[in-house]
């Protein structure tokens, strides 16, 4: 039988991108700011979320979507703060995708939420490829990971709207070169917003809280 060549030229992640766009339109219409927090395992995503909740819960109606390969440990920690939390277990999957978020949105009390924080699966590769419909992508890097990460994971640092450098209290113990890190990140992504923080000591966290507050407030008023 004759072989026929069919030209396709179709983006392999096109369906996910379309679903993400639908999610984003829905969130914009509903007046909800969705923030996707991505990092390596252990960089401090859960700590960042817990501190952010504690600081902003009187100012925003916060909800959390927890993405993990397995377990509900993080969701349990978040639910102790008495805010709506939904756990997604990816059962081995290395990232969340727009379909999982669509389903999660249908299962959350959205009338009570105007700031929805997503804790993505700890991984610097795959989450950068899968848009969820978030309006803000936050990348968290902790000092012990080293300042060379932007060179190793350029896509993640190119995609991020905000980079938080966490665990700055460990600086005296480590050889992390903050200037060369910031230079590399800005080189990839000149418009990125960078905060240097320690979730443990609270250093620099006020700037992050006020920035995030200004982001959801500007959305509420628009």
């Amino acid at each position: 039988m004759a072989i026929k060549v069919l030209t396709i030229q179709e983006d392999i992640l096109g369906a996910n991108d379309e679903k993400a766009k639908e999610n984003e339109d829905f969130l914009n219409k509903s007046g909800i700011l969705m923030v996707n927090i991505m990092s390596s395992p252990g960089a401090g995503k859960t700590s960042l979320i817990l501190h952010t909740i504690e600081n902003l819960k009187d100012k925003a109606r916060i909800g959390v979507i927890e993405g993990d390969v397995a377990s509900t440990i993080d969701a349990e920690k978040v639910s102790e703060q008495s805010i709506p939390v939904l756990q997604i277990n990816t059962a081995g999957g290395c990232h969340l995708d727009a379909y999982m978020i669509e389903k999660a949105l249908k299962n959350m009390p959205l009338d009570d939420i105007n700031l929805l924080i997503i804790e993505n699966v700890g991984n610097l590769i795959c989450p950068a490829e899968f848009a969820l419909g978030e309006q803000i992508k936050v990348m968290l890097l902790s000092l012990p990971e080293g300042h060379d990460k932007p060179l190793k994971y350029p896509l993640m640092f190119t995609e991020a709207d905000v980079v938080l450098i966490n665990k700055v209290d460990l600086a005296p113990l480590l050889d992390f070169d903050t200037d060369s890190f910031i230079k590399a990140v800005k080189g990839l992504n000149p418009d990125v917003k960078i905060f240097q923080v320690s979730c443990k000591t609270g250093e620099g966290m006020e700037d992050w809280y006020s920035w995030l507050e200004s982001q959801f407030k500007s959305r509420l008023s628009s």
């Binding site: 039988m1 030209t7 983006d11």
Partner: protein
Amino acid sequence: MHELSITENILSITLEKAEEAKASRVSRINLVVGELSGVVDECVDFYFTFISKDTIAAGAVLSIQHPPTQLRCRKCNTVYSPDGQDWTCPDCHEQNSEIVSGRDLYIESIEVE
């Protein structure tokens, strides 16, 4: 590890297009995968063998092209391919470049019978 989702998408787009064309078999899938997409060919091949079983794409050859990463220096506008992880501009030695290509991830064409 995101190769499983990617391979599932490759298969579903392929089957949809092959069925539209009333094909009885898919013999080859031509993919374009940029170096920056972080996709490992062997993983895609491995997953494809499993998930395409019992479909008309079973046994199809996956031909994967890897266009090289190209960057443009924001200072001097030189377009260059980086040397591994070193993204420094070869002309002005600045580390301030935007990605021109290397993020591609698409199905170029399929060959069907």
